[in-house]
Structures are given as structure tokens and as C-alpha cells.
Point group: C2
């Protein structure tokens, strides 16, 4: 195994790390898949926005540019990272709210089908939203263990899966699973929270119906930055989301009587877009566009491969919950060990910041443009040292 | 009538105007009820947050303070401006999404009642959300013209009204209308978008059931900053909102199977809170707490009274759509005239920024802490001059 110093010295993306703001007391940030570091460009963009746009343009900013921002950024996200032609992606609301809107839109369009399929490995909010909608629509939740276990039937309205599982990091074959769902006449929604910005996504080519995802992980949008929603163009005329707000209406500023959904992806908006929260993600999107997702994905695989090799050597009692085949994993790995809960506070005190996932997992999220191989080594060594105390 | 110079010279709140960032090309900003100006303190707070909190604390920030922010700010808002005891108010989502969540919670708790009452003067998003929910729950919308026309019956599940009407500026008697709704066994939801921060609100004393409101108008939270929701404590155990997300669950970080709503107001959260968007409103809240809402309301009445007197003198052909009794209006006035649509672009070119509300209204929104009497005079004179061209 090469040393982290050797790997960093030949890393063609190493120089981009200096673009991110840093924290003096953090020696290994291994949670970029939960909250990405801010780019210095984003800090500057937000300050400039407040002075020049909010204070300077005031209400005129809405007409001049802000109202278009959800779809303008959505189109850019579609082009750079989602393999989505323009007019299918928008930014707004939280992931949870967008899941609610799109899942409701899908099941309401399939009233003759009575089940929603979801896996137990899916992120809590995805499962909770599905449970709530199934209860309110008198539908059944068909539980499977993992995305790979999905079997859609003639009674399946919708399948809800994550492209990359939030805990195990398992990466699913979207094209194959989507085709199987379609063969049963079901729609499918993919949660891209853990893949957007770090793994290849081709929504149009894969014929995905619906997708949502976070922007505060690998898109570095900041804590609680708004999520994105993708609705394939062939569904936009028939699917109707339930939260009828003025910004999703045909002509918001007519303020007329009677809601009429806006055309295309605009009909999937609801309230006033959260502009401040949309600013930072644009810088990361531009950076990934510049670097190329292929190079990002290549470094991601090197980082997770290196982390697994180190764990094999230094943490022989920990169990890897993540696939060893790099083609089957995203950019985080999870190791399980009964001693991990105990050592988490000590790791954070040392400035080593992984995440903990119950019941006993340490998750190392490796954001390729801001994480060094040295950080991975410092982190895994710290875990081994604290376990030995 | 006193001159604007005289009024400004004796205005005890005039000195606070210097706390706001200004725009060089704007000579009269008369739209603070649509988008409040940023406080310089907010620009500083947001920059510091990015450097010290997001970059500095990284994921640790969630545990240390961010997760509590929706309810911490909510409690402060409740104390300073809503007359709401702690534990009933939270920040998050857009006004539209919060309307959806609370209206659904209310009507789902009254399954034996089949109508929702709403007025045609209400803001479009309120009406559209009501229409959508009525359609999906098989209910009837009972339309009235204004909030004062409401008659709740034994079949009314919920009444949805705005405290101050977005167009006319009419201020409703919340206590009396709420009591009448309760007499019929109905619940009531008040939209406080145009009153919070500028008019007295006593939600607990008035026995209001549910309320929502904006933070980007008189709370100066920035474009699209998240809204707030109030759920009276006596309803929290029985009302259930439909968007079951992880942040509203009993123990989000257990990430367990099966949604269980969090206790109290926390159960009304859904997704990850939009932290960047919550920062600025704290500065305005602190400022109003310092100045006192009584003084803010007093200046608001002086400003609207002065604007109406000027309009009477300079715009004799315009029709005032706002009550002349100051006790019956909020902090904006609307004047109707068939020439107004034509002159709006010219006003904006001159740096005079009111809002236009169809079909023919100019709305002057007068945010007491950032608006001078001179601005009102410049604005009304500019309207008269452009109309004469």
C-alpha cells in the first residue's frame, strides 16, 4: 500500500483543497458527505449577494434574476451532474418536502395500484415519508431489505430507493432496477443525496421518472441548503404535486382566483424560493464542471480504497459494512465495531471528525475535492489508537 | 399637515435607519413589506457564521447549536412578537409548505366536518393551498369576500384568514373572529405575513389555534428566508402534520424503523432546517425587542397616515383601497388608479420602489425602522409627477 504522502503527492486534484475554508482545530474532516466544507468563493459570493443584490437591488432582484434561480441552477445541475436535459430539475424546499411532493404526485397518478416499495436501508426520512403517504392514501408499504431486493408487481405504484445507501455506501445499478420497475408498470424515484457530485448519474439515459437529492453534502451548499427535484419531461403534464403554492402557479403575479399549475417543472415549485441557501452550491457546481466528474469519481475510489486498506490493517476487529468492489460503492465507507460509540467524543476532541451511525458504525465520508489521503490516514490511525485505550 | 422634514426631525426611531444597508440608486424604498432591507448586523452575522460556524465547527455545529435553532428562534419570536409562550413556534419550510402542513393537520383532525372557510382577499398561496387540500380530502371551500364576512358553521373544519390583507392592508380583529369560529366548533389559522413585526399579535391571549408567517418582510430575513409556524400547545398532542420527516421524528439520530412524531412543536418539523436562511431574522428580532413593538406600531401608523394625507392631496383621482381608520390597517396602503400600471417602470427607473398589485394598485409598504417620512413624500410626489406625464 502506498503511503498517504505518496498518494497526496501524485493526486492531480490536491491543489483544489486550498479553495475551501478550513478549520484550525480539525486535523481530519471525514464527514464531507454530511456537510461539505464551504468554498472561499461561496463566502465571497454570499457577502456580495447581501451587499449588491439584497441591499442593492431590493425587491427588483426577484424580477431581474432571483425568480429564475431555482430552474437556472436546476438546469445547470442537470447538465453538469445529473445527465438531465434542461427543464426537468429545480431547487427548493427540503429533501423531505420534495420527497413528499413527488411521491404524492406519483401515487396519485396511479390510483389503481395500491403499494409503494421501499427498502429498510433507505434513509429515515424517505421511509417515514413513504409510511405517511401510504397511511393517508390507504396504500400498503412493501418493505424489502436493500435496493437490490426490489420486486415490483402489477400492484406497485412507485418504488423509492437511494442510489447510494446512506449507511453502507452501497451503490445501486439504477438503469437495471429502473427498467425492472418499468417492466411491472411502476414508477421509480431515486434519492441521490449521497451520489450527486461524486458518482456518475444519467437520469435521462437511465429513464428515471423522479429523483431528489441534497445540496449540502458533495455540493457544499451549506447547512440545510435546499434540495433538488427532477421530474422527467414525459411525466410533467400528467403528474401533479399536492402543495399548490403561488410560485408553482401558471402566473404567480396575476394573483388570480383558482390555482392552475405552471407549465413544466415550474409546476413542482410551491413557495418563495430560499435564495440565500441557493448561492453556495453554484460554486461547487462550477468547480466540478471545471475539474470533471470523471476525475472526482476516480479520486473518490482511490480514497475509499485507501481507507479500506488502512482499516484492514489497523482495525482488524472492525467489520466493513461497505462493498469491497469499488464499482459498487459511493464515496463513504462504514465500519462497525462495538467500541466505536465509546470513542466518538474522544475523536471529536482530537479534531478527527467522522460520523457515527447507529448502532455501532463509524462512517467516513470522503469528499474528493476537499479531502486528502493524509486526512484519511490520520483519521483511521486515531480510531485505532482510541480503540486501544 | 406637517412636512416630511418636520416629521423626520421629531421621529424617535429615525436613528435606527442607519443600521440598515442602503442602495445608492434608491431614493424611496416603499416595499419593505415585500422584502425588508438587510441590517448591517445581518451581513456581519452571516459572514461570521460561514467562517466560524460552517467552516469552523463543520458537522459539530448541528449538535452544538444548529439543530435547536428552529425552536430557539421560534421561542424568541413568540416572546417578542407573537404573544406566544415557549414551545409553540418553530421556523422552517416556506409559508406555502407550512400552510399545507398545518391546514392538513387541522382538517385531518376534524374528519366529520366537510368545509374550509377562506376569503377571496387572502393571499394567492393561502387560497391555492386550501383549494388543493379541499380537493384531495373531498371537502368544500366556503368562499367569503373578506375576513370580516366569515361565518363558521357546524360543518366548518377550519377557517383560514390573514391578519392583515396583503393588498388592502385591512387589519382584522383576530380575537373576535377566532372566538366566533370556536363557537361553531371550528379551528382557525391566521396568516401573519403582513403583521408580524409591525402590528401587535397576542396568539395565546386570543386563543388562536394555528398561525404561519413570513420572515422576509418586516423581519428582514432575506429573500426566501424560512417561515414560522405556531401550533397552540393544547393542539400539539392531537394534530398531526402529514410530511413525516426525520427532523420531526421522536429521535432523529436513532434513524430507526417506523416514524413516531416528536413531542410538542418538534413534531411539526420535517426536513433539515435551512440554517443560512435563519440567521438574519435574529438581528431584526433583537432590534424590535430593543425598540419595543409599541414604538414600531406608533411610527407605522404615522407613516401610513402621512402617506394617505399626501395621496389625498397629490393623487386626488386615485382610490384608497385601505381603511382610513388607523386601527383597522397594517403598515402598507394600496391606491388604485388605471394609470399606475403604465408608470411603474418609470418609477423604478427613478429609484422609487413601490409594489404593483393587479389589476391597478400601487402598494406602499412602510417598514417603520427603515423608512423615513421623506421617502414617503418623495415616493408619492414621484407617482403624481409620472401620472401627469
Amino acid at each position: 500500500m502506498s503511503s498517504s504522502a505518496e498518494l497526496d503527492s501524485v493526486d492531480g486534484l490536491a491543489r483544489y483543497r486550498d479553495l475551501f475554508l478550513r478549520s484550525d482545530d480539525v486535523v481530519a474532516y471525514l464527514d464531507g458527505n454530511s456537510l461539505g466544507r464551504p468554498l472561499a468563493a461561496s463566502a465571497a459570493r454570499i457577502s456580495a449577494f447581501i451587499e449588491e443584490q439584497w441591499a442593492g437591488r431590493l425587491i427588483r432582484g426577484w424580477d431581474e434574476s432571483w425568480l429564475d434561480l431555482p430552474i437556472r441552477i436546476g438546469d445547470e445541475l442537470g447538465r453538469v451532474l445529473l445527465g438531465a436535459a434542461a427543464g426537468q430539475t429545480t431547487i427548493g424546499d427540503s429533501t423531505t418536502v420534495l420527497l413528499y411532493k413527488l411521491i404524492r404526485a406519483a401515487v396519485d397518478a396511479r390510483p389503481d395500484r395500491r403499494e409503494i416499495v421501499v427498502d429498510r436501508e433507505n434513509f429515515p426520512t424517505d421511509r417515514y415519508v413513504v409510511e405517511g403517504i401510504a397511511a393517508e392514501r390507504g396504500m400498503t408499504v412493501h418493505w424489502v431489505e436493500t435496493a437490490e431486493d426490489v420486486v415490483a408487481s402489477h400492484d406497485t405504484a412507485l418504488v423509492v430507493l437511494s442510489h447510494i445507501a446512506y449507511r453502507s455506501g452501497r451503490l445501486s445499478d439504477v438503469a437495471t432496477i429502473t427498467a425492472a420497475a418499468h417492466d411491472a408498470g411502476a414508477l421509480i424515484l431515486w434519492d441521490l443525496c449521497h451520489s450527486v457530485g461524486v458518482a456518475p448519474v444519467q437520469l435521462d439515459e437511465w429513464e428515471v421518472d423522479l429523483a431528489v437529492g441534497c445540496t449540502y453534502k458533495y455540493l457544499n451548499g451549506g447547512p440545510g441548503s435546499p434540495a433538488f427535484a427532477y421530474v422527467a419531461s414525459n411525466h410533467q403534464a400528467t403528474l401533479r404535486q399536492p402543495i399548490q403554492g403561488w410560485l408553482g402557479s401558471r402566473a404567480p403575479f396575476e394573483m388570480g382566483q383558482g390555482y392552475e399549475a405552471g407549465a413544466g417543472i415550474r409546476g413542482f415549485l410551491s413557495g418563495t424560493p430560499p435564495i440565500l441557501g441557493m448561492l453556495a452550491m453554484q460554486d461547487m457546481l462550477a468547480l466540478i464542471d471545471d475539474v470533471g466528474l470523471g476525475a472526482v469519481r476516480a479520486k473518490s475510489i482511490e480514497l475509499t480504497t485507501f481507507a479500506i486498506a488502512l482499516a484492514d490493517e489497523l482495525l482488524p476487529d472492525a467489520v466493513l459494512a461497505t462493498p469491497r468492489d469499488p464499482a459498487l460503492r459511493g464515496s463513504h465507507i462504514t465500519l462497525d465495531h462495538d467500541g466505536f460509540a465509546r470513542i466518538m467524543p474522544r475523536l471529536w476532541e482530537r479534531g478527527v471528525i467522522p460520523d457515527f451511525r447507529r448502532p455501532n458504525g463509524i462512517r467516513l465520508g470522503l469528499s474528493p475535492l476537499s479531502t486528502s489521503f493524509a486526512e484519511v490516514e490520520v483519521g483511521v490511525r486515531a480510531i485505532a489508537e482510541e480503540l486501544a485505550v
